[in-house]
């Protein structure tokens, strides 16, 4: 038996006590027997035996102590005592547990998100060896960029693989969406194009079926198969093992199912789980023409590169290695379409390597900083809650002052008393922590669904891992110490004699109230900081939502038609699109319709360099953004035409090339003069002549992809003058009446025209709202936190002021008896509140100023040190605080002096 036996004995103390009684009882009984045998009378013998034995209870206690872990026994006793205390004060317990639950829950939820997107390792073998190829600053990219993460061309991957020494193996992947449906509404699966070594390099083995064969990635792969994710297999194929070898229909082509990945393998991007993975070569299979084969295009940036570091290679060493390799790789992969100046910039590019043990994630780029800021804010909320609890505990401790003094006087040691007081705090923190963890479980899921849009689902693994557990436990322990330790130390410090005398010991009172004041001051400061943040983020969101997009987004639907499946000739396709546009336009639920190549706020972009003609003074060779639209687009989008005309049926393939530009374009290239009638040139790829356009119209500025962006120069070209007929056709539709009416109208027309046409709908206003989801998140969460902290600190101030009024009852009673007016009593009490308030506000302001620059990049339309915001926050805090002080002050003013003085 050793320490664990002693610990175990604590938990079976009743049995232990019984055995002890048996053992000691046996001793006494034997002793009696002997005495009786020796001639002592029976009644005498018993007394004598017990006398010889000594103090039975002490013997028992001392013997018992030998078999038990004393500290644990004491701790359990303390916890039981604490529990009893809490049961006696259910109101206090409820407030404490609730505020701790909210505080710890919010912290844990935010931490869970950070954990999921930043800290947790990939579900791969030895994830710490994984590293991603990244671009050094000022990286030049031109061409066809289609990736969520830092991407490279296949040629670069291939050359890099041949030259590098740092990695034992390198893999490449690109993300895509595969349509699963055969017509009508498109249904998408998250797809990955992967190099054939993908799973092997990651050390992931399929749970069912097999991996891709180790083959050359650019081979002809008409027999390519697909590996499914576990969740997709469960969802779409009901987890049927017979699915292996069956076909899956992706983007109009059947792929045999090769295998199923393990359940925990979501891919390499936290936030985006994959459904289906196909080999890189499948990109060529699915491309409809030569131009779409990204594997063979040296200007198609689509592959994210991950390597497994060789033993002994650090990320830094690999980074230096790849930087040195860069020139050779660029020389061998220079895209032929680049003009000399582009080529020069391309050759200057430098590579580097970053750790990828936690994967690569676009979600992380967008949300890592906001989440850390939110974590800091929830931390402040928790601190405010702790300050509040500390205050409540202080008040309780002073109520128990005498009891504690008595205990000390009869010999209780101070550490033991502190332990007992802390046990109660530990209980509160423990219960708060457990409930907080439960709350976090739901909160983090709500947050994820908040971030997920209608078209982009975010999938994060939010399971409970040791990091989250440690975080929550640490938080609970820390809060316990924060709010419990100071009151416990204070409560046991009072000299027993002074406390028992029952008077109001002047020195101790001042000291204790000093601590309470400090707590209130910090609460005021915390809530000011949080309120400033809440107002900053709230106003940013309002500014964003109030920005002029140049578009009347209400009632506008974007219908994205995919015409790849019917396999039509371009001319036939063009006629079909025209027909579709006309039919939709005549639907009663539609008031206007137009075609557009890149719907606004879709995330797609197209840009190039523009040279205005015939004007040497104007800027030349600057960047502009482009789009193609059909006649009636600006009318449909309610974008005002400022000069010239809209496109019309005259602007067809045979007519001269024309363009409509926006104000920013005119400002940028024509010194804000009316550009109608002027011409400009757009730089083309190497070996092709530049195109020249004549401007026929000027429109109001519109946002291109984001609410945050400055107005960009945009030139619109007629859809009809496009030399190719794309396979996708996007319509903007202004609905009359219900959106659903217009949507079903489009659906009907589509299926009548060709049942194999695919369509996806987006509501433009929703799309725009979705583009500010991060700002919305910051605004609503910080608003909530600000409110919570404000509430807590108001309660805190109220508590302290009420307590002080009670303490000063006699003094106030005397003043009233001597003729002080109610007003002057209110002033007396409020003066105290105002003093605390001002110190708190000053501190809060200083900290706000120091911290606000971290939020600068998340703000829109105002500076982090925006005076109005700070003033408003301060006024709000001051207002509520004064209100909180006014209630006890008025109570003091109404005090009946006779009653107050009778106490003395």
């Amino acid at each position: 038996m050793s320490w664990y036996a002693r610990v175990a004995n604590v938990f079976r103390s009743r049995r232990l006590a019984q055995q002890l009684d048996d053992e000691l009882g046996f001793h006494v009984a034997e002793c009696i027997d002997d005495l009786v045998a020796g001639g002592v009378p029976e009644s005498e013998a018993r007394r004598e035996a017990l006398r010889r034995f000594g103090n039975y209870t002490i013997q028992k206690e001392r013997t018992r102590d030998m078999s038990m872990a004393g500290w644990l026994d004491a701790a359990l006793g303390d916890l039981r005592y604490g529990l009893r205390q809490l049961r006696l004060n259910p109101g206090f317990a409820a407030v404490a547990v609730l505020s701790l639950m909210l505080g710890i829950g919010a912290n844990t939820a935010i931490f869970q998100l950070i954990d999921a997107i930043r800290l947790r390792s990939l579900p791969a073998k030895d994830p710490w060896q994984l590293a991603a190829v990244d671009a050094a600053p000022d990286f030049f990219v031109q061409g066809w960029y289609s990736a969520r993460n830092r991407a490279f061309t296949y040629a670069q991957y291939e050359r890099l693989r041949a030259h590098q020494q740092a990695f034992s193996a390198m893999l490449a992947f690109g993300n895509t969406r595969f349509n699963l449906s055969r017509g009508g509404d498109a249904r998408y699966a998250e797809g990955l194009y992967v190099s054939s070594n993908f799973l092997r390099v990651l050390g992931v083995t399929p749970v069912l079926g097999r991996d891709f064969l180790p083959e050359r990635d650019e081979r002809d792969c008409s027999s390519a198969g697909a590996v499914l994710s576990y969740s997709f297999w469960q969802r779409e194929l009901a987890g049927n093992p017979a699915a292996i070898g069956r076909m899956i229909y992706l983007d109009g082509r059947n792929f045999p199912i090769l295998g199923v990945a393990p359940a925990d393998f979501f891919g390499l991007e936290p936030g985006n789980r994959f459904d289906v993975a196909v080999p890189l070569c499948a990109d060529s299979l699915l491309a409809t023409d030569e131009k779409g084969r990204r594997l063979f295009r040296t200007d198609a940036w689509w592959l994210t590169l991950i390597g497994r570091l060789k033993p002994g290679w650090s990320v830094e060493r690999a980074s230096n290695h790849l930087r040195d390799l860069s020139p050779a790789v660029w020389r061998e992969t220079l895209p032929e379409s680049y003009r000399p100046d582009a080529a020069k910039q391309y050759l200057k590019n430098k590579l580097r390597v970053i750790a990828a043990s936690a994967g690569v994630s676009s979600l992380r780029r967008a949300y890592e900083n906001p989440l850390w800021i939110l974590l800091a804010m929830t931390g402040l909320v928790l601190l405010t809650a702790c300050a509040n609890l500390a205050n409540l505990l202080l008040a309780r401790a002073s109520a128990r002052e005498r009891e504690i003094a008595v205990r000390q006087a009869i010999g209780a040691s101070r550490p033991r008393l502190i332990g007992q007081l802390l046990a109660e705090s530990l209980l509160l923190a423990g219960i708060g922590g457990i409930l907080g963890a439960v709350l976090a479980h739901f909160l983090s899921r709500i947050l994820v669904s908040f971030l997920s849009g209608a078209n982009e689902q975010i999938h994060l693994e939010l399971g409970i891992d040791w990091r989250m557990f440690a975080f929550t436990a640490l938080l609970a322990l820390l809060t316990c110490l924060l709010f419990g330790l100071a009151p416990a130390l204070r409560a046991t410090r009072a000299a027993p004699a002074a406390a028992m005398r029952g008077g109001r010991g002047a020195t101790t009172t001042r000291e204790r109230n000093g601590l309470r004041r400090a707590l209130v001051i910090s609460q005021v400061a915390f809530s000011l900081i949080l309120l400033v943040a809440a107002l900053l983020f709230g106003r940013s969101l309002r500014n964003l939502l109030a920005t002029d997009t140049g578009i009347g987004a209400r009632d506008v639907i974007v219908a994205m038609v995919d015409a790849r499946l019917p396999k039509l000739e371009p001319e036939r396709r063009k006629a079909l699109f025209k027909d579709l546009e006309d039919r939709i336009g005549s639907h009663p639920g539609v008031s206007a319709v137009a075609a557009v190549e890149l719907p606004p706020f879709s995330g797609y972009g197209w840009n190039g360099l523009v040279h205005p003609e015939g004007d040497r003074s104007a800027a030349s060779g600057k960047q502009s953004w482009f789009n193609r639209v059909s006649p009636g687009y600006f009318r449909t989008m309610e974008t005002p035409l400022l000069a010239g005309r809209e496109f019309d049926l005259r602007d067809d393939k045979k007519a001269p090339r024309v363009a409509i530009v926006n104000e920013a374009f005119a400002k940028s290239f024509f010194n804000a003069h009316n550009p109608v009638g002027r011409t400009f040139r757009v730089e083309s790829v190497a070996g092709k002549a530049d195109s020249i356009y004549q401007i026929v119209g000027l429109v109001r500025n519109t946002k291109y992809n984001e609410l945050r962006e400055e107005f960009r120069p945009i030139a619109f070209f007629p859809v009809d003058q496009n030399e190719e007929v794309p396979e996708n056709f996007n319509l903007v539709i202004r609905a009359r009446g219900l959106l659903s009416g217009a949507i079903s109208g489009v659906r009907d027309n589509l299926s009548q025209l060709d049942p194999a046409l695919l369509v996806e709908f987006r509501v433009l206003s929703v799309q725009i709202r979705q583009s500010v989801v991060r700002e919305r998140l910051m605004a609503s969460l910080s608003g909530g936190f600000g409110l919570l902290a404000g509430l807590l600190s108001t309660l805190g101030l109220y508590g302290v002021m009420s307590y002080m009024v009670v303490r000063r009852r006699n003094e106030i009673g005397v003043r009233i008896a001597l003729g002080a007016s109610g007003q002057s009593v209110i002033g007396l009490v409020l003066k105290e509140a105002v003093r605390l308030l001002f110190v708190g506000l000053a501190l809060g302001l200083a900290v706000s100023f120091a911290l606000s620059r971290y939020a600068e990049s998340l703000l829109f339309g105002l500076k982090a040190n925006d005076a109005l915001t700070i003033a408003a926050a301060a006024a709000l805090v001051a207002g509520t605080a004064l209100l909180a002080g006014l209630v006890p002050a008025r109570r003091a003013a109404r005090l009946d002096p006779a009653v107050a003085l009778r106490d003395e």
Binding site: F26, F53, Q59
Partner: protein, 110 residues
Amino acid sequence: MDKRNDILQGTLTLLVLRALEARGPLHGYALCGHIQSVSSDLLRVEEGSLYPALHRMEQEGWLASTWRLTEKGRRAKFYEITPRGRSQLAAEKESWARLTRGVARVLRYC
């Protein structure tokens, strides 16, 4: 108030271990009697020290205990020396010998 020093502090362990080594399993009361009679009534074990000591030694793993019936039909806790107890006994004997030698020399030469 406290009469624990009938037996020199620290020697109780030695006596108990030695008694159990010599006599095999014994209960607390018998142990008291045994030590008293073997020492010709020179040593008297205080119950107040014996039971805490027995329990401590059991925790240390020097003793093992079982509940058995005595001849009189009473349930008693019998203690028995363990192998670890034997090596402890050897160590205690050694240190006792050193102590007595030292004390004897001091008495002789000072």
